[in-house]
Assembly symmetry: C2
Amino acid sequence: MKTLKRYISLLMLAAMPLLGLCAGHPSLLFDTTELTEMKNGLDDAPLFKKSIDKIIANAEAALKTPIEIPEPCDGGGGPVHERHKANYYEMMDCGVAYQFTSDKRYADRVADMLEAYARLYPTLGYHQLGLSPVPGKLFWQTLNESVWLVHTAIAYDCIRETLSEARRKNIEENLLVPMAEFIMTGTEDNRANLKTFNKMHNHGTWATAAVGMAGLAMDRRELVDKALYGTDLTGKNGGFLQQMDELFSPDGYFTEGAYYQRYALWPFVIFAQCINHSRPEIGVFEKRDHILSKAFDTLFQLSYEGEFMHINDAMEKGLSAQEMVYAANILHAVEPDNAMLPYIARNYHEDCIPCIGGYRLAKAVERGEGKEPPFRTTVLRDGRDGKEGGFGIIRDTADGRNTALTMKATSHGLSHGHYDKLTMAFYDNGKEILPDYGASRFINLEAKNSGHYTKENDTFCKQSVAHNTLVANRTSHFGGVYKVSSKHHSDFVDQYVSPDGSLQAMRARENNAYADYGAGTERTLMYATLPGLEFPVVLDLTRVSSERENSYDLPFWYRGHMVSTNTDQHRSLTRLEPLGEGHGYQHIWLDATCEPKDPDSPLQFTFFNGDRMYTLTTASTSPVKGHIVHLGANDPNFNLREEKGWIVNVPKASDCTLATVIEPHGHYDVVRETAEGTKTSVTDLRIVDDSPESTVVEITYGPDGRKARFTAGKDGEYRVTAE
Amino acid sequence: MKTLKRYISLLMLAAMPLLGLCAGHPSLLFDTTELTEMKNGLDDAPLFKKSIDKIIANAEAALKTPIEIPEPCDGGGGPVHERHKANYYEMMDCGVAYQFTSDKRYADRVADMLEAYARLYPTLGYHQLGLSPVPGKLFWQTLNESVWLVHTAIAYDCIRETLSEARRKNIEENLLVPMAEFIMTGTEDNRANLKTFNKMHNHGTWATAAVGMAGLAMDRRELVDKALYGTDLTGKNGGFLQQMDELFSPDGYFTEGAYYQRYALWPFVIFAQCINHSRPEIGVFEKRDHILSKAFDTLFQLSYEGEFMHINDAMEKGLSAQEMVYAANILHAVEPDNAMLPYIARNYHEDCIPCIGGYRLAKAVERGEGKEPPFRTTVLRDGRDGKEGGFGIIRDTADGRNTALTMKATSHGLSHGHYDKLTMAFYDNGKEILPDYGASRFINLEAKNSGHYTKENDTFCKQSVAHNTLVANRTSHFGGVYKVSSKHHSDFVDQYVSPDGSLQAMRARENNAYADYGAGTERTLMYATLPGLEFPVVLDLTRVSSERENSYDLPFWYRGHMVSTNTDQHRSLTRLEPLGEGHGYQHIWLDATCEPKDPDSPLQFTFFNGDRMYTLTTASTSPVKGHIVHLGANDPNFNLREEKGWIVNVPKASDCTLATVIEPHGHYDVVRETAEGTKTSVTDLRIVDDSPESTVVEITYGPDGRKARFTAGKDGEYRVTAE
């Protein structure tokens, strides 16, 4: 099949000169044949038509406003920054509108604006803000300049044929070529851009896409070649094609996590679309067993209720993001039979991209095509070769349930990574129950650090205690040192699903994060249906072995409202103080400390979220306490959200095993005001065996004191035996 | 029209004995003629059919379980309490299922359960919990017993004809009559029930409905008469018909607010439905110019995005509540042309009530009938005669806007009232922006004070500082004394809408809340479109006049994330302490204090919620400070939600006028990551004239320093003049 497609591509390539398409314009997002198909069939594709109508309306509105090309001066969210962003959207809208309407006014608008930029650009030095290590000229960072050029290249491609040779020369030589050169090589004084361009990093992909698309729009082959194969043209030291090889794992996982994977995917699919028009012989969409499609599928697997899971520096974003519109539209032309694409377009997208895939996808949506893809229990391997740990997901969508349980045992995740080895998150009943904070950032809000990541992103969000993972000696993994953390990755041991689906499990190990303390951690998450319980429970087994005595904290950040503990709560009623002094602890207000009445009895914490209750029951091989906390200390600018946590604390132990059962229970019917099952079923929890060979945990539950045993044995032996 | 309906009712009454309906059963929720109509047309009314199918399925499921009638022992949410609630739903389902299927097994189930209750009930004394001043026998409070009897009366009405005389006698004499007598008169030792029964209070309505419906179900006229006309049968000292006269204002407003109005409406519409079957000559639905329909319409006006506004002891509830299903269904039979009813059923209801209105409403929904009713700018007068102040609402649904601004200037609101004279709330863009806390209660959660109101409901939620209203000397209105507050009401002065709709305003006065300080307050809310601004702004003008010097606080509790102030923020970074010691202040953590750099410059506070920013700019005739706060101090059981507030504080003044402009601004597009207008337009705010005759406030805004003047004159003169 793959080979067949390749032949067809080659065949089309061979036919192209005859059809006169090869050197023509437009040829980036769409070519003239595709344009004809789209224009003739607009009425069959209402979603697409709506987008084209909107593009034309935007273009028409633009004509009524003066061209504004202000001197660069501010950061993300500032009015000048936003003006230059709006300008590239405007040029792209006008360019596309010209192609769809042949109304020359739109083309002229693009040309006029480009000429205005061609006057400004040669006068610019580095941006005055000086905030970025990779500064731009038009924007505070080169990244935004690359994005500007990607959009502008599309606009230029649409209107180039309308220009006189003199105008082309002016625009290309004073604006597009210098900008492409700047993005590709930087300046004599500062080669940061050169490094980025050849780097295996998503900023590098924006750079190669920008330069390559500008090259295609101007018919300048050298720029395209460098974009594809790196500045040395070997294909081994940079370039888009190598980025395709290295930036995704074989499972289509991007090491920074879903939020950035979505962003990274954007230049990949746009540039791939352009390459496919101009150099179909490359077979860009088929590369690495369709790696771009895999990356899209992986983003779906990393979503819950349409939102991407919040690992690393994640913010709110999901399947409805504009990048997902680009990806779904462009991929549909390559994979018309992929039923996920119309499903996502129908449920999450309100517009289309002006490309043949967008048009055909809208037709498919109109015909009612598309099918919800299944969520899988899966491990998404990290690393170019899939050998740097992985991100594990246990899913349960059986019997109307909607549960996801994740464990992150990956590499650090580049500059957006957090010190969160083996962190878990729990999603249930359509909600984030035990969430990951993600990033502290208010994109484009000038008052909030000019829209950049806030200081608290470093001092809290990245720190280990901000995550649902073990922290030793109130110190973040790897001491919170990026260079050290970047050298290591966790190991994903295994994942298991029992034949009848009643038990799912996964395990991972981390041996480097606390090498200084001689401590290694293993975490096992089991998800099991127990007889007599309505909802499956989670058993979280965190085992730490250490040569010396340490303190351990296992935070469970929760969403919902605290209901009760099974202990007295020593609450700080009239004075709050931070839980600690560094590594994120300085941001945590300590609300209450709970000591179990009996050192042998487990610790319980109950909260509710929506119409369901959740109880965390923890047993430990060493004495534990519980801290009830909320965020906000040492946050002078109110950058942190008001998150709440339950932190299981082991004051002193060397080896220690913590077993926590997470039980969803109860129903609260707000319409009828009925409540049932609001108390946990779990009456006791014991670690009955704990050796390197296996850990056995016994849970006692229900009104009749039913018992069940969880066994997590070495070498992937998982078992739950119930009475 | 009204008279005509009345004649028809009388005519039907006259015809009834001929039709053999008068003494027949069922006759409560529906009679045999209606039953025939419903059974014959099920397929035309899918929403109704679904409900009947569910009722029959519930009945069938009930047959498979043993009858459980446990000894009463626990409070709301406890398993025994919930069992007795489930039992009345089960009996009602079985009774109705019998009528729709003629399957005698369902009728037998009801009879068996009633017999079991008839064995238990005579053995019961007052409930052992002893928590309620009006204790029940089967439940901890008589209120629940009344609700039990309302449902059970319907069940009994459905199956009475199937019983032998002996069984009827047993059930009626050992259970239904004694329970009705108990609800009506209490016991020799405790006449609390007698007092409630004759009281003008919604608990009294449940009591009269329960007794009246039991009377109708048993054909015991005396019970029905007492329910309608009070225990002395005069109709002047109690009874359902007097409750209809007194419990709603002429505008259909119930003094406890929407949350309790919904609850109060339930027994009204059910019992009214029963009365209309048995005593149509009363014309119960036409009483007081269709007061029950007015009450329903008022509930709609008191909703925002389908949720009831949270005044007094309100919790989460809205148009989808089961009581609204009852009301919409029952009223539809009386007002088939009221287009609001199918609209609400279609958009908010998932089931129907087994009554002719429910059936016909489902048919109307199926036919696509119904129309969204307009939201009105209105004052809902409080008090039986509409003379006890009112609840003012300014609405704006023009041009895609969705804004509501409210001011509460009513009487205290019975036992569920708060000390919140002249409090305001602001709803915008589909969200609560400046909310009212409502109540602290976790219905049916045993761990939270057994599901009752929490202690913090008294110590915080009811206190003045919990509301967006002026607090003097950190003391709640009326010193927080219910008996004093209950004697007074605020005065709603006026409401104004300019001919072109660009200005809306309302004003109210409160002269009693701080009589001890010789202080009176007047609050004016103006909602105005200003040239050059995208969204209308609110001007909140709070004027206090006092004989002596006081401190004043004007809290603005907000939902969203704090962005910035125009001052330095002296933040408590490593230690939090409560803002005060009583009247709710003890629950407030003080996060930061903001002092204006220049005493003449206004104080500004900006936050965002969703995709919009909000800036509060305050000018004052006396120096002010700002406090940034959040809730949670002195809350040992974590009962309070994590709400956040901005409190404008006047340390010392006698007369004082505070002018606050609330400006919604900006757009944040998360899909495209664009932001605009994230800074407030307001650059200055001055109170330029302030006399008893009028207050004039000048706002300077926009990049060009545009000016506009707000004038709030005596005697309803409202004006905004812009440059």
